[in-house]
Amino acid sequence: MNLSPIAQWALRIFTWLGLAFLYLPLVVVVILSFNSATSLSWPPRGFTLDWWSKAWEADGPREAFITSIKVAAVATAIALVLGTLAAFALQRYRFFGKTSISFLLILPIALPGIVTAVALQNSFSRRIDLGIFDFQVGFGFHSVVIAHATFCVVIAYNNVVARLRRMSPNLLEASADLGAGGVQTFRLVTFPLIRSALLAGGILAFALSFDEIVVTTFTSGPGVETLPQWILNNLTRPNNVPLVTVVATVVMLLSIPLAWLAQRLSDDARASYL
C-alpha cells in the first residue's frame, strides 16, 4: 500500500507509543518488586532483594501456581473438546438454530463476570432434586473447572472454526476418492490440519483461565486457591503486598515463550490456504 513516508512514520511512532503504553505499568511492577516499602507506593523508597528471597521460600505462591496450572489444564482440555465439537457442528452442517448456538457459546464470556459468578455460585450451592436422585455440585476444584471450561469453550471454538473455514472441501473429497472412510479421513487429514488451531486455542484458553479472578472467587471451595486468588488475598494482607509484584514478574517472564508459541501456531494456521 502506498502511504506517504510521513504517514508511515506517523503510524510507526503511534504504534511504538501504544506499545509503551502497554508496557509502562509492567515496568512499574518490576521496579516495585525491588521496593523496600511494604506498599505499592511511588517513588520507591529503597532497593531490596528481600521480596525475591521471600517469594522463593514462600509455599503459598508456589502452591497457588500449581493449582492454577491444574485448573487451567483440565478446563482447557474440556473446552477444547466441546469447542471442537461445536466448531465441526456449526461449520459442516446447515441447520436451524445456528446463530442461536454461536450466541450461546459467546454468552459466558460476553456477560459480565460478576453475573456468571453469581449465577454459578447460586446453582452450585443448591441441592438439585430430580426425583430418582438428588445431588449438589458443591464447591471445590471441580466447580472452578466447570466454570472455567464454560467460558473457555468459545475460545477453542473460534480458533477451530476459523481453521475449518480455510480448509478447502477438496481435501475431504480427495481423501474419500482415495478410499478413506469417515474416521480415517478425520484421523489422517482433518486432525493434522486443525492441530495448530487446537494448540493456539488451547494456549489462549489456558491464559484466560489462568488469569481469571471474578468467577473463580465465587466458585472455588475451601482449600482451593488459584494464583489470582492468592494475589487478591495478599493484596489485602499486611506486609505482603510487594510479594505480589514478584510473583507477577515471574509469571510474566514465564509466559513469554508461551505467547510466542501461541502466535506462531496461529500464524501457521492462518498462512496455509490449502
Binding site: 506498599s39 438439585i128 430430580l130 499486611p238
Partner: protein, 442 residues
C-alpha cells in the same frame, strides 16, 4: 432467522421451568443437616444440668461490668439452659477444618515463615487448616450460608445474623479450656450470646479510631467533626469505612451533636434517627476521597498523602507509620464504634471436633498473642499479654483497660426490635441499612 430466535426462546423457557421446579431450596436441607450433625456428636442431645451450671459462673461476672454500651440486653443471668445439640465431649479430629477468617487471622507461614500459628496446630491435632479470606462481615455471612465451612471469625455485625439464620451453633465452653481465661467483658455479650448461651469464642477487639496526618494537623484533632463537617481541614481527603455498619458512626456523631434526636444506641435507630444519619452521610460524601474496605487501600492513601484523615484501625496506622507516613490516631471525645470478633462453629460443620480444637488453640495465650500482635488488635486472652513480643502491646491496644471500652460501641446487627429496649417504635433492621448504604454509594 426468526426460527432461530423462536427455538432459543423455547429452549430458554423450558430451562426456566425446569429450574424453578427441579431445584430444592437450601433451607430445608440446612435444618436437617444441623440436627443431623448435632445428633452424631452427642450421646444424648438433651440439655444437661452441668452445662447450665458451668455457664452460670461467667454471666455473674459480666453483669457487674454491664455499663459497657454494648451490653444492653442484660440477659446474662445464670439460669442458662444450653441449646440442644451442643456436644458434651470431643471425639477424634476429622483431619481437616475449613475456616472463613479476616486476612491475617490464620497465618500458616506460607507467606512469611516467621508468621505461623497454624502449623503447630496442624501437627498436634492432625487437622489440616483451609482458610477462605472474607473481606467483609457481609461476605462472611454470605459464605457461611453456602454451608461449606466449619467455622468463621465473625465480627459483631455478622454474629447475630448468623445466629438468626441458623448458620452457627452455640458452643460448649467446657470443651474449650482456654475459654476460662478470656477477658470477662468480652464473654456473653449481646453479639456473641443469646439468653446467656455463648455462641462462640472471643478472638480480640479493636476500636475504629480517627486517623490524622500530623503535618496537616499540628494540634491533634479530638472530634469526629473532622470527617463529618464542612469545616474540616481535609476536604476531599477523608477516608471512611465502606460498609453499611458505618451508619452507626454517623449515628454516634449525632448522639453528641444532636441530642434532641434521642439516640441512645447507635445500632438502635428508629426511622427518624436513621434518616438523620443518612442525611449526615449524604452531606459527608463531598468530603470523602476514599471509601476503604481492604485496609491496605487506606494504608496506601495515608502513605501517598491522598488521605489526610478518616476512620481507621490501629493496624493500618502501624503499617503506614512503618513506611514513613506522618500520622497518628486517637479515639475522639464522642466515643467510637469498635469491633470484637468471635470464632463461631457452623451448624453444618463437617469437622466439628477439629473446629473445637481450633477454637481452643486460637484462644490459647500463645496463639492469641501472636495473632493480636500480627494483626494489630487487643487480644482476648488475659494471659497473652505477657507473651507478646512487644511488652507494650497490650497497653497500646488497651487490652485489659476496661474503662477504655466504655464508650466504644461494638459492631452489632441492627434489628427491628430496638436494641436499646424501646418498645414504642420499630427500629430500622440491618437489611434496610444495606439498601440505604447501596443507594448512598451508587
Amino acid at each position: 432467522m426468526r426460527t432461530n430466535r423462536r427455538i432459543l426462546a423455547i429452549a430458554t423457557a423450558m430451562v426456566v421451568v425446569l429450574a424453578a421446579c427441579g431445584s430444592d431450596d437450601d433451607t430445608a436441607s440446612t435444618d436437617t443437616a444441623a440436627t443431623g450433625t448435632a445428633a452424631t456428636d452427642t450421646a444424648a442431645a438433651d440439655t444437661t444440668a452441668d452445662a447450665a451450671a458451668d455457664t452460670s459462673a461467667a454471666p455473674a461476672d459480666t453483669t457487674a461490668t454491664s455499663d459497657a454500651p454494648g451490653d444492653t440486653t442484660g440477659d446474662t443471668t445464670g439460669d442458662a439452659a444450653p441449646a440442644e445439640g451442643v456436644p458434651t465431649e470431643l471425639g477424634e479430629g476429622e483431619g481437616e477444618v475449613n475456616l472463613i477468617a479476616w486476612a491475617g487471622y490464620v497465618e500458616d507461614g506460607s507467606t512469611d515463615p516467621a508468621v505461623d500459628w497454624v502449623s503447630d496446630f496442624e501437627a498436634d491435632t492432625g487437622c489440616q487448616v483451609n482458610v477462605k479470606i472474607g473481606n467483609s462481615s457481609d461476605e462472611m455471612v454470605q459464605l457461611m450460608q453456602t454451608g461449606e465451612y466449619d467455622g468463621v471469625s465473625a465480627s459483631g455485625d455478622a454474629t447475630q445474623r448468623l445466629i438468626a439464620g441458623g448458620e452457627v451453633a452455640p458452643i460448649n465452653p467446657d470443651l474449650i479450656p482456654n475459654y476460662a481465661d478470656i477477658f470477662d467483658d468480652l464473654k456473653l455479650q449481646p453479639w456473641n450470646s443469646v439468653d446467656g448461651v455463648p455462641y462462640g469464642v472471643p478472638h480480640g477487639r479493636g476500636a475504629n479510631l480517627l486517623v490524622f496526618n500530623t503535618e496537616l494537623y499540628t494540634t491533634p484533632p479530638d472530634s469526629w467533626s473532622e470527617v463529618f463537617e464542612d469545616s474540616t481541614a481535609a476536604p476531599g481527603a477523608v477516608s471512611v469505612y465502606d460498609s453499611p455498619i458505618y451508619i452507626a458512626d454517623a449515628a454516634l456523631y449525632l448522639m453528641a451533636t444532636q441530642p434532641d434526636l434521642g439516640i441512645t444506641n447507635p445500632y438502635a435507630l428508629d426511622q427518624d434517627q436513621f434518616d438523620a444519619a443518612i442525611a449526615l452521610l449524604d452531606q459527608q460524601q463531598a468530603l470523602v476521597g476514599q471509601y476503604w474496605s481492604s485496609y491496605t487501600d487506606q494504608q496506601a492513601g495515608l502513605e501517598d498523602g491522598s488521605v489526610l484523615t478518616g476512620t481507621t484501625w490501629q493496624v493500618i496506622v502501624n503499617l503506614a507509620q512503618a513506611n514513613g507516613a506522618k500520622i497518628d490516631a486517637v479515639k475522639p471525645v464522642e466515643g467510637a464504634t469498635g469491633w470484637s470478633d468471635t470464632w463461631m462453629i457452623s451448624s453444618q460443620a463437617k469437622n466439628p471436633n477439629c473446629m473445637y480444637m481450633w477454637m481452643d488453640h486460637i484462644a490459647s495465650p500463645e496463639a492469641n498473642a501472636a495473632v493480636a500482635e500480627y494483626f494489630g488488635e487487643a487480644p482476648s486472652n488475659a494471659l497473652s499479654c505477657d507473651l507478646t513480643a512487644d511488652p507494650d502491646h497490650c497497653s497500646i491496644f488497651h487490652a485489659a483497660d476496661t474503662d477504655y471500652w466504655t464508650d466504644v460501641w461494638y459492631w452489632t446487627t441492627a434489628t427491628e426490635e430496638c436494641l436499646d429496649g424501646r418498645t414504642d417504635v420499630a427500629c430500622v433492621p440491618y437489611t434496610e441499612w444495606v439498601n440505604a448504604w447501596s443507594e448512598l454509594r451508587s
